[in-house]
Symmetry: C2
Subunit: 107 residues, 2 copies
Amino acid sequence: MNADELRGHMDALLLAVLEHGPLHGYAIIEALRERSGGALDVPTGTVYPALRRLERAGYLASEWAEAGGRRRRTYRLTGEGQAALAGERSAWRSFTAVIGSVLDPSR
Amino acid sequence: MNADELRGHMDALLLAVLEHGPLHGYAIIEALRERSGGALDVPTGTVYPALRRLERAGYLASEWAEAGGRRRRTYRLTGEGQAALAGERSAWRSFTAVIGSVLDPSR
DNA sequence: AAGCTACATGTAGACAGCCTATATATAGAA
DNA sequence: TTCTATATATAGGCTGTCTACATGTAGCTT
């Protein structure tokens, strides 16, 4: 998966993966890898700053937790985040429609 | 249309729009706007450097032409460019499948 | 004649997001 | 003790798209 392609869609991915329940950063990376069948292997240097950015934006809220002697920062979707996710899904649909209209004019 | 979203897909758009015949830069911008129903309005500062980059890569070839007293640089797809376009189409399909698998896990 | 719009190309520099590389730390297995 | 998996974090680099500007022709309006 190309880095440039992912650009602008990272937020949608992170919000979507948190939709069904809170997760910490490391688990988010694993969830993205599993859900995509191994195609998405997002580095920590991408995910952690992005999560903080989304929290600053009010879309996520986080709290520290402890599990097996290791500290985790667990993120959950806020109400604003749910709304943002809906917006991202809508934007994704129109985005694919627009690019598709150029790449596949027949359809 | 967001600038970040377009990132990594510009090449595919330019190659696709040149598939059915040569065009000059200004006409390419108009073609993208028309094909997308007005959603794509790519600035010249994006298109002209991108076309040169694609030519350097061997995917496009260009030559100067004159029409109505104005000079145009007309671009056409090379053989390599056709192959690149096929690759871009394939990449687009897997890209949408991957993002879709996260955004719409049900499908 | 002057001014405006459409046509047509091009570059410099800003911006922003994703990446690599690095640092730190615990737990458990080899 | 060493290696791997788990877990978080930041600094700096890279690069493609954008804004803003520069240049010039043609044709229409005032």
